[in-house]
Symmetry: C2
Subunit: 228 residues, 2 copies
C-alpha cells in the first residue's frame, strides 16, 4: 500500500498521529527527571532521546512545548540539569502513567508510585527503579523552525548502571537490564538479541559477535540472503 502526502493529510488527526509516530520504528523509553527552583519534582516519559556523540558524551531530546512535557522543559531551562532514566519491564505502567496531564505542583513520582533518588552535587531527581540512570547538564537548546518543537542537548555527567551489564569492550547490555522499547505512542516490547555484528569493512566478510564482543557463529542469525 502506498500512502501519499494527500492520503496522510486526510487522515483523522489522532489516527495520523498514531500512524506517523509508528514510522520511526522502535524507540527508547526514558523518564526525564527534573525539579523546579523550589524543588518541586517532575517526571515525564519520552521516546525521543537520541545519541549525538561520544566525545564529549552528548544526547538530544525532542520536547513538544504544548504537551505534558512542558513542565520538563521549563525545569530544564531553569535549573540547567535533568536525568534520563531507562524504563524497564517491572515499572512500565508507572512510567506510562507519567504522561497524564498533571498540574505543575503534583509530582508524577507520587502519582505514578515511583521513587525519587539523588546523588550528591546533582540537583535533579533520578528514578530509583530504573536500571540505567544518566545525569545530564544542559549544553544547548533551540526551538526548531519547522514546527516549533524544542530540541534539548545535554552532556552526560554520570552514568549509574550495574557493572555486570557493562561488557569488556564498552557495550552496555541493555537487554539484560530488562529495558523495554516502545513503538508508536503506546506499544511496549521486550527484546531478544539476535547477535552483535563485527565492524564492517569493504571486501571483508562480517562475522557475528557474542554480547561480550567475542567472535561467534552464524547459526543464531538464520539468514539466507547474505554472503556468509
Amino acid at each position: 500500500m502506498n500512502y501519499n502526502a494527500h492520503s496522510i493529510a486526510m487522515m483523522e488527526s489522532r489516527i495520523r498521529s498514531r500512524f506517523i509516530n509508528s514510522l520511526s520504528g522502535f524507540k527508547s523509553a526514558n523518564l526525564i527527571g527534573t525539579s523546579d527552583l523550589e524543588g518541586n519534582e517532575n517526571l515525564a516519559i519520552v521516546s525521543s532521546a537520541f545519541h549525538l556523540g561520544s566525545t564529549p558524551p552528548l544526547m538530544g531530546l525532542i520536547i513538544r512545548p504544548s504537551s505534558v512535557e512542558r513542565h520538563t522543559l521549563q525545569n530544564i531551562l531553569a535549573t540547567k540539569c535533568y536525568t534520563i532514566n531507562a524504563v524497564s519491564h517491572d515499572f512500565l505502567a508507572s512510567a506510562h502513567q507519567t504522561s497524564a496531564r498533571y498540574s505543575k505542583l503534583e509530582s508524577e513520582f507520587e502519582k505514578a508510585n515511583l521513587t525519587p533518588y539523588y546523588i550528591s552535587e546533582f540537583n535533579a531527581p533520578f528514578v530509583r527503579e530504573s536500571p540505567l540512570k544518566l545525569a545530564m547538564n544542559l549544553v544547548d537548546h533551540q526551538t526548531l523552525a519547522v514546527n516549533g518543537t524544542e530540541m534539548v542537548i545535554g552532556e552526560i555527567q554520570n552514568v549509574l548502571v550495574s557493572d555486570t551489564a557493562v561488557m569488556p569492550d564498552g557495550y552496555v547490555d541493555v537487554e539484560a537490564l530488562d529495558i523495554v522499547t516502545v513503538s508508536g505512542l503506546d506499544s511496549y516490547h521486550i527484546t531478544q538479541r539476535i547477535g552483535r555484528l563485527s565492524y564492517a569493512k569493504p571486501d571483508q566478510k562480517l562475522h557475528p559477535l557474542t554480547k561480550e564482543g567475542e567472535p561467534s557463529s552464524w547459526d543464531a542469525f538464520g539468514l539466507s540472503n547474505f554472503n556468509r
Copy 2:
C-alpha cells in the same frame, strides 16, 4: 556503579564510543537511500532517525560528516530527497554491511546484495527488501554547534507498507513486519510485544490494549507495583 565525567573521559576511545552509544537504549535501524545528480546510488545504515511531528509529518536524522554517512549527506543536500527503509531480520547482515567505507562510485546496494526500487516521480532509491519504506523530501538542515554533527529534517511524502500491518486506529505493527531494533553500535534484537497501554489521564487507571487498540487484560504485563 557510578561512571562520572572523568572516568568516561579516561576510557579508551573505542570503548567510550561503544559505551556512550549504548546509553540511549533501543534504537531504530534504517537504511537511508540516496543518489547523486548522476544517478549513482548510495545506501547507509543509521540508528538516528527520530519522530519530530505528525502535522506536517516530519522526521529527523543525525549524520556524522566525517563518517561513512558523508556520501548520504552530500546526496541529500544535492537532490533534496532520500528514502528511509526499516531493517528487518532477513536482511540484517546486508544492512550492517552498508556501514563499510566504500568509495563514492561503489553502490552499497550491489556490495551488500540489496535491490534498488523506484516509484514514479521520486528520484531516490528505496530498498525493495524493506517492509516499511518512506519517501522523504528535505525541509531543513543544520550543523549542530555543539559537535559539528549534521541534523537533517525531512517531510514524509510516501509510506510504502503492507495494509495488514496498519491497525484500525492508525498504529503500525512494526513487530509483525519483523523489523529489528539496535542497541549500541552493533547489537541487533527482535521484539516481543508486552502490550499497548491506554491514553493516561490523572486519577484514572490505565488499561492495556490489544495491538488493534481494543481494551485488553492485565495478565500479559505481569506487573507487581502498579495501581491495577
